[in-house]
């Protein structure tokens, strides 16, 4: 039904949550229908300019409904708002596993 993207420091469920959005290392895509998680490497992590915008576009291509991260840059925020993607900000230092557990109720 819905896809949630969680920014992650690594490509495993035990990886730490990444508080950056545009320059997050990995993206964990969680599908609430199949309960499957897939990890996608962020290719824009080292781009000099506009990482947030490019990643926001990627989120649209992934058909994400919800993104969980620590902060969103102003440009990414503007774009995600237009694309009707929900932004969630949490400041907890936790693992991907824990976050997935919290959103599956």
């Amino acid at each position: 039904m819905s896809k949630t993207v969680i920014t992650s420091l690594g490509n495993e469920l035990t990886s730490q949550f990444d508080k950056r959005f545009g320059r997050a290392e990995w993206f964990c895509v969680f599908d609430s229908k199949t309960k499957e998680t897939t990890f996608i490497k962020n290719e824009f992590v080292n781009s000099n300019h506009g990482a947030g915008t490019k990643v926001a576009e990627l989120m649209f291509e992934l058909k994400a409904d919800k993104i969980i991260s620590g902060d969103f840059g102003p440009k990414a925020k503007e774009l995600l708002e237009e694309l009707n993607i929900q932004m969630v900000i949490i400041q907890d230092s936790t693992s991907i596993q824990e976050i997935v557990k919290r959103i599956v109720v």
Binding site: K66, P74, K77, E81, N84, Q86, M87, V88, I90
Partner: protein, 135 residues
């Protein structure tokens, strides 16, 4: 008559209501009001490390106005430090570009897109949420 003050765009309001000094003997109730746009100016210039030109465009004001807001913010913080006063954040002349909500149970902050009908916390499904844009 002076021109009206243009509203400054603030991406997200501060996550706190204020700051209080500790370890001081001074029992003072005095406080300094830091405007949302001043908090935003400090954030953009010193945390996001933007130059004043970029930051001013983001806030929808001229570069000179941005510089004034930023200067006023720095002076207020300095005054609060030196005179051991509390800092309280107030709305000021700002508008938010998106409605942010705060969950009272798990403290997650989030937006609710137009396409979403139910107003619940996306992290813990709690209905105890409050809008951060109204004081």
């Amino acid at each position: 008559m002076p021109r009206r003050t243009r509203l400054r765009k603030v991406v997200a309001p501060p996550e706190f209501k204020g700051y209080k000094p500790y370890g001081t003997n001074k029992e003072s109730q005095e406080y300094i009001e830091l405007l949302y746009e001043e908090y935003e100016a400090i954030k953009l210039a010193d945390y996001d490390l933007m130059n004043h030109k970029e930051a001013s465009e983001l806030m929808g004001v001229s570069r000179a106005t941005f510089a004034r807001i930023y200067e006023s913010a720095r002076r207020k913080i300095a005054q609060a430090f030196v005179e051991t006063k509390e800092i309280v954040t107030v709305y000021g002349n700002s508008w938010m570009d998106e409605t942010w909500f705060l969950c009272s149970d798990c403290h997650a902050r989030f937006t609710i897109p137009k396409t979403l009908e139910q107003e619940i916390c996306p992290m813990c499904s709690s209905k105890q949420i409050e809008s951060l844009n109204q004081k």
